[in-house]
């Protein structure tokens, strides 16, 4: 039997390696082959595509999240805490044998050789590194999306769609500032909305912060988080957050290579690196990224205003594309603001635009939720978890529910949901659905004109987006990474450590 294993512990200096040693001894004792990836502070040599493809079973002995766990999706798995592997390596190997016997291969029907090239980030190639960094950010952001989004949805359900209106002085703030009255359902709605919004404000900073953290460890947390927070302030959205995270991580990586005097070395990680990198990232995010984004939003809004009287279906397509491009970022905001601004005129045209914009904004989370159900194997465990929350987020017109998916795989996810949104926008306009409320998702369907048309538009767009994302994720895969060179590296590394 061939075993692949990952060991990891909080500090990454002791248990990780003890568990690796114990597992290797136990596997050898039982007559199996084993390769252990030690995700610790002495650097980790990733398992090669070949090793992953040939493996029969995966063992995780870890007290922290195993990085890139989706590489092992094709294997039966045994997961335990790291100490279990140290004290009972033999038991663990026995469990792995059991897991192999009971394992039912995934129903995708893929031949045995596919997982290696298709699923594994495999090897230390640049693309797989970027993906690993992204996934660290995404996995940390998902609980924020789920908790915040569901609380916001609850806020709408209890407090009605007016809960965050008007824009400059929203109802929920007035209620929360004016003393909380436990007897009022609206007050509970305001509370849920307030807490949910607080959680959502962390979304982009956490995404940026943990991308930076994955790239360059703890010193990169500050510039990542702060860069993300600036992206929120300037309205740069999650795409701005991605930029902030990568810039912060890259910058800290580079600073770490500086040769500094010994006296200074001690304060580099706690003082010098965070201070310097945060100042630089903050400056970039405000000046280089922030300004142009404000101009783009302004320009798009003016442009949309100049389009009044254009063909309704074309406008629906355009707004749908914009709503689904950056989920809460500048482009999305321009389309949304355009629709909301029209409401005050009360004209029939403005109300159909509002309906189309909301319908399109519901598509991204719904489509991703559906995709995680119909093609489980294309998504990681955390993504599937997020998929469950995304149903309600989509239904509540909280487009941000799709951000974890879009951030993890932007080039396949964003185009898919944009096309779905465009279909929905066009259909909603064609069917003449109208809406007076600027928010609320399914909760405001009773207030609509032609609600059935609205729902049809949402469902069809969702199906289109789902089909596209599944197709793109299935067929437009990364090229398999050559495994040859990294195999030799593994061997030498393992010799120096364990010989």
């Amino acid at each position: 039997m061939k075993i692949v294993a990952v060991t990891a512990c909080p500090t990454g200096i002791a248990h990780t390696y003890m568990a690796a040693e114990a597992l290797e001894a136990a596997a050898e004792e039982a007559g199996h082959e084993i390769v252990v990836e030690t995700q610790g502070s002495a650097g980790s040599t990733p398992l090669t595509a070949e090793q992953l493809a040939e493996a029969d079973v995966a063992i995780f002995a870890a007290d922290v999240e195993v990085r890139d766990k989706d590489r092992f999706a094709h294997l039966p798995q045994v997961s335990v805490g790291v100490k279990k592997a140290i004290s009972g390596g033999d038991l663990l190997v026995a469990q792995a044998e059991e897991a192999v016997k009971n394992h039912v291969p995934a129903a995708t029907g893929a031949p045995a050789a596919t997982p290696a090239g298709a699923k594994a980030p495999a090897g230390p190639g640049a693309a797989s590194k970027v993906r690993a960094w992204l996934m660290t950010g995404v996995s940390h952001v998902i609980p924020f999306v789920a908790a915040g989004g569901l609380l916001i949805a609850l806020g709408f359900a209890l407090g009605g769609y007016q809960i965050n209106l008007p824009d400059d002085d929203p109802l929920y703030k007035t209620i929360l500032d004016g003393g909380f009255s436990a007897g009022s359902i609206t007050a509970w709605g305001a509370l849920a909305f307030g807490i949910g919004s607080a959680a959502f404000n962390f979304l982009v900073p956490v995404l940026a912060g943990y991308i930076a953290y994955a790239m360059a460890d703890r010193p990169a947390l500050v510039p990542g988080f702060v860069g993300g927070a600036v992206a929120v302030t300037t309205g740069a959205g999650f795409l701005g957050g991605l930029v902030a995270g990568f810039v912060a991580g890259g910058l800290v990586m580079w600073i770490k290579t500086w040769r500094v005097p010994r006296a200074l070395a001690g304060i580099m990680p706690v003082l010098v690196i965070p201070l310097l990198s945060t100042a630089v990232v903050g400056l970039l995010m405000y000046v280089i990224v922030g300004r142009p984004i404000a101009l783009i939003t302004e320009g798009l809004t003016n442009w949309l205003n100049g389009l009044s009287g254009t063909n309704a279906v074309l406008l629906g397509i355009l707004l749908g594309l914009m709503m689904c491009f950056d989920m809460g970022g500048p482009v999305n905001k321009a389309a949304y603001t355009f629709a909301v601004a029209g409401l005050s005129t009360g004209s029939e045209g403005a109300l159909t635009i509002m309906a189309a914009v909301m319908a399109a904004g519901m598509v991204p989370p719904l489509a991703m939720a559906l995709a995680t159900v119909v093609r489980k194997s294309l998504f990681t465990d955390v993504e599937r978890e997020n998929g469950r929350a995304a149903w309600l987020l989509g239904a509540s017109f909280i487009s941000e529910g799709a951000i974890p998916f879009a951030a993890a795989d932007p080039f396949r996810v964003i185009p898919s949901i944009m096309v779905g949104g465009a279909v929905t926008g066009a259909l909603s306009m064609t069917l003449g659905a109208t809406l007076r409320a600027p928010h609320g998702g399914i909760f405001v369907v009773p207030l609509m004109g032609n609600p059935l048309g609205f729902l049809v538009a949402v469902v069809i767009g969702t199906l289109v987006a789902t089909a596209l994302v599944v197709a793109l994720k299935t067929f437009a895969r990364r090229r398999p990474v050559q495994a040859g060179t990294s195999t030799t590296e593994t061997v030498t590394e393992r010799e120096t450590v364990s010989a």
């Binding site: 002791a14 040693e21 502070s41 364990s498």
Partner: protein, 150 residues
Amino acid sequence: MSDLITADLVDLDLPAGDRREAVRSLAERLVKAGRVTDLDQFLADIEAREAQMPTGLDGGIGIPHCRSTAVTEPTLGFGRSTGGVDFGAEDGNPADLVFLIAAPEGGGSDHMTVLAALARRLVRKSFTGELRSVTDPAAAAGFIAKEVSA
């Protein structure tokens, strides 16, 4: 880079009893050797790691450890206690072998390989057996240094 451990970082008569006292007494040796710059900071970092999950292992071994800004280079303090020090191992036995592992914060991975090599030795019976029978600090330090550089 100096050796992971030297004779003055070894205490073969570590008093039995509280783990905090045992750690402090070993840590003071690290301070005296110039490997730890700030005792309180270092002890706080050790304690923070213990709080996540006790570092006692079955078979009488305790491995208090941390990455700390107070540490200048990867260092091992080794203590042996006849009476034993409780590090919260699952088998309930106190540790007679205590390995205080100190890693610098943000150290490059090449610095850390020596600690990885040490950790791997800790699960080998031949390694711990030798340390249980060794009679003087210099021999203990020499044995460990030779093992991890092999």
